[in-house]
């Protein structure tokens, strides 16, 4: 279709969908209302399992299967990205020499920020069942922190800190731990992904049963997975070249 015809088709369809949205939205309960059935069930359920962060309780206990699926999407995408961004037949990877071109100060910031983001990331993961955060958020913070090294201009330093095979292992291990905890639930508590460890005291670091264990597993998987994905994009930008062009 021509650009004009395409726009016309979209405008017809889009206008009708907009109308559909409008009549549905006007029928919906108002924004800010106070009756939330699922909330009224989920909060007491979280309290029963001594999980102070109710969102974590929903994610890793009440609706843990959703998160299991979500982590599967993540690892499948990591593998998919790696497969799609592999050097094609006519390409090779070259090695980047450490030229030391970047300014010392920028590089210093990168090195200094690394431990800071490591501490923040780990804290977010380990307290995910008590305060806002969790395995996913902490894992992303860790992965981003590592890539500050790239932003500050030291790709070779990043490359040294990032033995990619180890990250593949971490990724697989994190996701496998989630599955294994789920299957252990069948063996020891009678249902898949059952929260079976002793719950501990509400609000304490050691509480919420399996929630923190799953948080750590997800943290490992997300950290390793995001690093692996970004590494593949970085490789495309920096190291993958057509044969003969170098």
């Amino acid at each position: 279709m021509s650009r004009r015809a395409r726009l016309l088709v979209f405008l017809v369809g889009g206008a009708a969908v907009a109308a559909l949205f409008a009549i549905a939205f006007l029928d919906m309960p108002h924004f800010g209302r106070s009756d939330h059935l699922y909330r009224d069930l989920a909060v007491p359920a979280a309290v029963r399992h001594a999980t102070a962060n109710v969102v974590s309780s929903v994610n890793f206990d009440q609706r843990a299967v959703d998160t299991f699926g979500e982590e599967t999407i993540l690892i499948a995408s990591v593998v998919g990205t790696a497969a799609l961004l592999r050097p094609a037949r006519e390409e090779t990877e070259r090695r980047i020499p450490d030229t030391g071109r970047t300014l010392g100060a920028t590089r210093l910031v990168g090195y200094l920020m690394l431990p800071v983001s490591l501490v923040i990331g780990l804290d977010v993961i380990l307290h995910g069942h008590v305060t806002p955060g969790g395995g996913f958020q902490g894992g992303v913070v860790l992965a981003t922190g590592l890539h500050l090294l790239y932003v500050s201009g030291s790709y070779p330093a990043l490359d040294r800190l990032r033995p990619l095979e180890l990250f593949d292992i971490g990724d697989g291990l994190g996701a496998a731990t989630f599955a294994a905890v789920g299957l252990a639930g069948i063996a020891f508590a009678g249902s898949f992904l059952a929260n079976m460890v002793s719950f501990g005291t509400f609000g304490a670091l050691f509480s919420a049963g399996t929630v923190p264990i799953l948080n750590v597993a997800v943290g490992l998987e997300v950290f390793a997975g995001i690093v692996a994905i970004l590494a593949k994009f970085l490789d495309q930008d920096i190291t993958v070249v057509k044969e003969g062009s170098e």
Partner: protein, 115 residues
């Protein structure tokens, strides 16, 4: 004002669709898709919101008796964000390869699949 948040969500969904339809660059189309998906975040969180109550996180000091907003939509949105990031990664990876093979990412010039 009671439904403003829902309409912002609907707007984002449609705007993203418009972006893909008018797109001149596949990366632009992929980012527009992510805008569409952001519409679903806004819708879900708006559905679970309650005025004048706090987040569903009690922390280590608070008693779990106060009223909170719906935690379930927040859990759903978290999943949704992960889906968005990972699907975008896959699509961008495909776009990188399309560009390598065909030397363009303008949908009007990509002709490997007509018929």
């Amino acid at each position: 004002m009671n439904v403003y948040a829902y309409f912002v969500a609907g707007w984002l969904l449609l705007a993203g669709g418009y972006g893909i339809v008018r797109s001149r660059h596949m990366v632009h189309a992929i980012v527009s898709l992510a805008v569409s998906q952001a519409g679903t975040y806004v819708l879900l969180l708006a559905v679970g919101y309650q005025s004048n109550v706090t987040a569903p996180v009690f922390g280590s000091t608070e008693k779990p008796t106060k009223q909170v907003v719906d935690p379930v939509v927040q859990a759903m949105t978290l999943t949704d964000i992960v889906v968005s990031a990972t699907v975008t990664a896959l699509l961008l990876a495909l776009a990188v390869q399309v560009n390598k093979r065909q030397g363009t990412l303008d949908p009007d010039e990509l002709v490997a699949l007509e018929g």
